[in-house]
């Protein structure tokens, strides 16, 4: 059994995109995604496409990594497109054959949907590929800070993410080990009906949960021993500081939004 996981994958590098403040990247990506839904004509999408392409080129991330991201949600994109093409009750009919009816409006909506989703996925992939999980977590904690006022445990959420990222590889290794050990005892994880296979997972899941709880327990003790007490009186080794390039990025984003607004006015 082979387990491949692409969550939180980071493509290390020293491009200007990598060097940008994670907060700017996170907020910028969020802003860009919102802009995709604000734009309503092809000039707007063109602007978005050009901006994103420039970022990709600057980041030095191989495009095939980005295509992989799109491929993984290809099903959703196709589904959204098909749904819009066939079920949009548009006025201008392009094609009608038996129960199939494709309207001009449907085709346009479908095309928009595809473009938006593709740009959205690519933009978020570029961000996760160029930002280390730790920086991302820190940025998230910072940006969520205002929510603390309404008692959202932002520090705890960030700490949970940090620990989850740390333990994903460890638990994958553990899963592989347990699968092998049980296979050596004649367990079968790959054949049989769905019901049977689900039942056969017990020899894998019970040890995995027991181990995860044991790890959690030991980790909690280790954190206590190192004086962890939530974020009371806590400092950070890496202080996030905005630099010239971050200001430049913000200006570029501002210019982009003005451009979008103009395309909508025109």
């Amino acid at each position: 059994m082979n387990i491949k996981l692409t969550i939180g994958q980071f493509y290390p590098g020293d491009s200007v995109i990598h060097a940008l403040d994670a907060r700017v990247k996170l907020a910028g990506t969020f802003f860009f995604i919102v802009s995709l839904f604000y734009a309503d004509n092809f000039y707007g999408y063109l602007a978005a496409f050009i901006l994103l392409s420039a970022v990709i080129v600057l980041s030095g991330v191989p495009p095939r990594l980005l295509l992989r991201g799109i491929r993984s949600i290809l099903f959703i994109i196709v589904f959204a497109a098909v749904f819009n093409i066939f079920f949009n009750p548009g006025e201008t009919v392009l094609l009608e054959w038996q129960f199939i009816r494709i309207s001009y409006e449907g085709a346009i909506t479908a095309a928009r949907m595809v473009i938006r989703l593709a740009l959205l996925i690519t933009a978020s992939s570029v961000m996760t590929l160029t930002t280390s999980p730790i920086q991302l977590t820190d940025a998230l904690e910072y940006l969520l800070k205002p929510l603390k006022k309404i008692k959202v445990p932002t520090h705890e959420i960030a700490m949970m993410m940090t620990i989850a990222l740390r333990f994903i590889p460890t638990l994958l290794e553990e899963t592989d080990k347990i699968i092998k050990a049980q296979t050596a005892r004649g367990a079968d994880f790959v054949t049989g009906s769905i019901m049977k296979r689900a039942k056969n997972l017990i020899p894998l899941l019970v040890p995995l949960f027991v181990s995860a709880f044991r790890r959690a327990d030991e980790l909690a003790v280790a954190m206590d021993a190192r004086c962890y007490r939530g974020d009371t009186g806590r400092t950070k080794m890496k202080v996030m500081k905005l630099r010239g390039r971050d200001a430049a990025a913000i200006i570029i984003l501002a210019a982009y939004s003005v451009l979008l607004w103009l395309t909508k006015m025109a």
């Binding site: 999980p133 730790i134 740390r166 206590d224 004086c227």
Partner: protein, 282 residues
């Protein structure tokens, strides 16, 4: 550094829902005094109370009765806990379950960050601690790609960055291979050389030899307390307690029993060679 006076620790555990809760006595009146700069090895069977004792030194556990003072502060007092944990660091058995961050240097920074140390100073401490355990080259690495010995050295760096007076190793070498074990032990000896008090809990009698004092624990008390030579000189008693002696000490006892004139306190190959060269007139 430490002073324990008649510490007892009891806990209750319910194994099955329908069975009555059972009371366990993990520590049964421990008395001990450890000076600053000492290197104390603690041995004993599983369940003899070693780990429970270790967790008291860091105020992770508080005695049911009796008192433990760390640098004059009683660990049972709530207000002393953070001071105690700062001065006594701990390295645990499983290297995987004590590393918190997914980048080595971020993990080393975890302790000083919790203490509220100023960012520039954290940076200096992280770099210094990683250099001290010879892991500076791995500062940006992901912990899961490291070997067991390397992970434990990262854990040690994490403790060092908190500037402790003492480090407790709770079977920290149990899951390592011989190479990893010697890496960690070298680091431990070097830290002791710099004046840090070391408490080393272990099952490997060969590791005990480098300590200057040994506690043998049994059924929740410190049964024996002395230098490695004094302790291993009593191999019969150790065997009764379910423990071993170093290979050379075992051989020395065998030889002495057979009438060959060698000292029972031999610990290493070098010492044995010296004794036998004389006895056999080589």
């Amino acid at each position: 550094m430490f002073k324990a006076e008649q510490i007892y620790f009891e806990y209750t555990q319910t194994a099955e829902e329908d069975s009555a809760p059972a009371n366990y006595v993990a520590l049964n009146g421990v008395d001990a005094e450890i000076q600053k700069g000492e290197f104390v090895a603690v041995v004993g069977r599983n369940g003899s109370g070693k780990s429970t004792f270790a967790k008291h030194l860091n105020a992770l556990l508080s005695p049911t009765s009796g008192t433990l003072w760390v640098n004059g502060a009683a660990t049972s007092k709530e207000e002393n806990i953070w001071q105690v944990r700062k001065s006594t660091g701990m390295v645990f058995q499983n290297p995987d379950n004590q590393i918190i961050a997914s980048v080595v240097e971020e993990d080393v920074a975890f302790g000083p960050e919790n203490l509220g140390v100023e960012p520039g100073e954290i940076r200096r401490r992280v770099d210094g601690s990683l250099a001290a355990v010879r892991m500076a080259d791995f500062a940006k690495a992901a912990p899961h790609i490291l070997s067991g010995g390397q992970k434990q050295r990262v854990a040690i760096a994490g403790v060092l960055a908190m500037r402790p007076d003492c480090i407790v190793f709770d079977e920290a070498t149990a899951m390592l291979d011989p190479l990893g074990r010697s890496e960690v032990l070298e680091t431990v000896a070097a830290l002791n050389g710099e004046g840090i008090t070391i408490i080393l809990i272990t099952h490997f009698m060969e590791e005990v030899v480098i300590a200057n004092r040994v506690f043998v624990m049994n059924e929740g008390v410190i049964e024996m307390d002395g230098s490695p030579r004094e302790i291993f000189g009593q191999s019969k008693k150790l065997r009764e307690l379910g423990l071993d002696v170093p290979h050379m000490t075992a051989l020395a006892h065998e030889l002495a029993d057979l009438g060959v004139p060698v000292s029972r306190g031999v610990l290493t190959v070098g010492e044995m060679l010296f004794e036998l060269t004389a006895a056999l007139k080589l």
